[in-house]
């Protein structure tokens, strides 16, 4: 379909600005970036983001931007579903809600009532909260590891709003703070001029081409992600590989074997910080919420088991994934640097 045939408005055709957000520099930066957008003032971002009856997948066809002031809490402790990668003081925050990508297996479509993207313009408040949390972290000898890209893909926005850059710069002023920037983006180029720091872990989620094309809509192809992470490694950045979610379907082992062979041929395992592996899993409330919206994806219509409120594939399949990945990463990276959510 050519651009002129597409009946939908482009993403960010509308920007909804919370009244209290108007005076923030980040809000003005957004509005300047999209001069043709219809700007609509809203009393509270929840009056548009939390409207009943929204259709997440239909909204994905024309995503709108919402600018808002985040209210506390500004920082959250890790959940059981989020992999801590071995970090003891593991937290996440939400500079942005929602993502420009549309992965079938993503929990965001069950977590949020809207596909629209919320940018919180008061990043400084989040940074103050980080400093307070660092002072009382449970393991004071270990750094506070903060995932800044948990409910979004922050690096995707870097050409729109340089928020990853802002957080990296901030981390450099806080020796006890480490950041994880998880992404499927190929946009390392947008931050490549920044001097690397051991405090920041750039974590690329990688999947076989078949999964990228079939389940990770709007994301860059595998080869561009590999190229981006190799550029980051060449510049000295710490890089984590995330195989998450490993999808189990008829013939999955053939696709993942080819995929892992490509990874091993392209990437020097000794220079990878670690690897995290996870299977499809989702809180049961999010899962049911997504099912009710009748998504096109077949992922939500498979037999799963409920493991303490988490919907996931049967144990025998989880075990099979772990054995398969361990076996096929043998010799590429030491086993203790592979973390599983199985």
């Amino acid at each position: 379909m050519s651009r002129s045939d597409n009946p939908f408005l482009p993403d960010f055709s509308h920007i909804y600005v919370e009244t209290g957000a108007k005076s923030y520099a980040l809000a003005n930066q957004c509005l300047t970036r999209f001069p043709k957008a219809e700007v609509v003032e809203v009393p509270d971002y929840k009056s548009i983001f939390n409207r009943p009856g929204q259709d997440f997948q239909t909204q994905k066809k024309s995503v709108k931007l919402i600018l808002a002031v985040k209210k506390p809490p500004f920082i959250y402790k890790s959940t059981d579903i989020l992999q801590d990668g071995g970090f003891k003081n593991f937290y996440y925050n939400t500079p942005i809600l929602n993502c420009l990508y549309n992965c079938d297996y993503c929990f965001l479509q069950g977590m949020y009532p809207s596909a629209n993207v919320v940018v919180f313009v008061n990043q400084e408040d989040m940074q103050s909260a980080v400093e307070m949390e660092m002072d009382k972290r449970p393991y004071p000898d270990d750094p506070l590891m903060l995932s800044i890209s948990y409910n979004t893909d922050l690096l995707t926005f870097e050409n729109i709003l340089p928020m990853t850059r802002t957080w990296i710069k901030y981390a450099k002023t806080q020796p006890d703070l480490h950041l994880e920037v998880r992404t499927k983006s190929a946009l390392f180029s947008a931050i490549q001029d920044i001097e690397y720091t051991q405090q920041v872990l750039l974590a690329w989620t990688l999947s076989p081409d078949k999964v990228v094309k079939g389940n990770e809509y709007d994301t860059p192809p595998l080869d561009r992600r590999i190229s981006a992470l190799k550029s980051a490694m060449a510049k000295g950045w710490k890089v984590r590989l995330c195989f998450d979610s490993v999808l189990v379907y008829p013939g999955w082992k053939v696709d993942y074997l080819k995929f892992l062979d490509l990874i091993k041929s392209e990437i020097d395992g000794d220079r990878i910080f670690d690897v995290t592996v996870g299977v499809f899993r989702m809180g049961q409330d999010y899962f049911q919420h997504i099912r009710k919206s009748k998504p096109e994806s077949n992922i939500y219509y498979q037999p799963y088991e409920n493991k303490d409120g988490v919907v996931t594939i049967p144990q025998v399949e989880r075990k099979s994934v772990e054995e398969f990945i361990r076996k096929n990463l043998d010799g590429f990276i030491s086993q203790e640097r592979i973390h599983f959510w199985i």
């Binding site: 408005l9 509308h14 219809e38 003032e41 009943p52 929204q54 998504p295 498979q302 037999p303």
Partner: protein, 272 residues
């Protein structure tokens, strides 16, 4: 895709009735055509609310309906031109302070403005009102958004005046709307092209079939939910119909044990 027009006045409805050849149903007072319906709500929130409540018993096909409120509105003199058609992107209720936002996902050619819904006609302090002013918009959004997602709620307003009219009867309401019928038609075509109907997995016939089976087998509430889930899973995975379940639904079980046994057989069949 179906379309339901709501207008406050018959004079606003006339150009649409004529253009689409709509015919009045004497029982429901709805004007209907092939895939277009129209209802005149009356002026003001109370009348509108009352008519929409009655609509819910007359019109049930909301899952693929686009609701279009079209009518005349007052306009801020600095932001609007009399006679021009505008698309509403925000609705503020002056009485309650509530705000409502239709999703605008499809391309269109109109200028967008916000709308304030008031209870009484504006005769003074007209400059404090930004954009557009009407007397029904918030009530329509509030009630219809319970049936229709916000991307299928459309508000179109033709500015009839700059809130400076002393005698409303002098307005050519029909003429104001008639001048924009072609634009309204093009918006409808856009919705046909965009296809924004609710997604369904089980057809109405399949739902009726399963409901009959549930009654005949006297399934528990949990089993009913599970049967729908298993059926959706089966259809999504296989793409096949559910007719093969018919033998399970032909005979009423004599005991709970027999019912549970049949249900387990159904579960296994749908899992295969």
């Amino acid at each position: 895709m179906n379309f339901l027009f709501l207008t406050a006045l018959k004079a606003e409805a006339n150009p649409l009735i004529e253009s689409y050849g709509l015919i009045k149903d004497p029982d429901t007072h709805l004007y209907t055509g092939e895939n277009i319906s129209l209802m005149v709500t009356g002026v003001g929130k109370p009348k509108t609310e009352s008519r929409i409540q009655s609509l819910f018993s007359q019109y049930s096909d909301f899952k693929d309906t686009v609701v279009i409120n079209i009518g005349i509105a007052g306009g801020n003199p600095n932001e609007t031109n009399v006679g021009e058609l505008y698309r509403v992107n925000a609705i503020y209720d002056e009485d309650t302070g509530q705000s409502f936002f239709p999703d605008i996902l499809l391309k269109h050619s109109l200028i967008e403005l916000s709308l304030v819904t008031v209870s009484k006609g504006i005769t003074e302090n007209r400059d404090i009102y930004r954009g557009l002013v009407d007397m029904e918009g918030s009530a329509i959004f509030q009630l219809l958004s319970k049936q229709v997602p916000p991307h299928r709620l459309v508000f179109l307003k033709v500015v009839s005046d700059h809130m400076d009219v002393s005698d409303w009867k002098t307005l050519d309401v029909t003429g104001l709307i008639a001048g924009h019928v072609d634009t309204i038609r093009s918006i409808i075509v856009g919705f046909e092209f965009g296809d924004l109907s609710d997604r369904i997995i089980l057809s109405e016939e399949e739902m009726d079939f399963l409901n009959l089976g549930m009654v005949r087998l006297k399934l528990t509430e949990t089993q009913q939910v599970q049967l729908l889930d298993y059926s959706e899973n089966y259809k999504k995975r296989s793409g096949d119909g559910l007719e093969f379940l018919n033998p399970f639904f032909t005979k009423a079980p004599k005991s709970k044990q027999e019912r549970n046994m049949i249900f387990e057989q159904i579960r296994q069949s749908l899992s295969a």
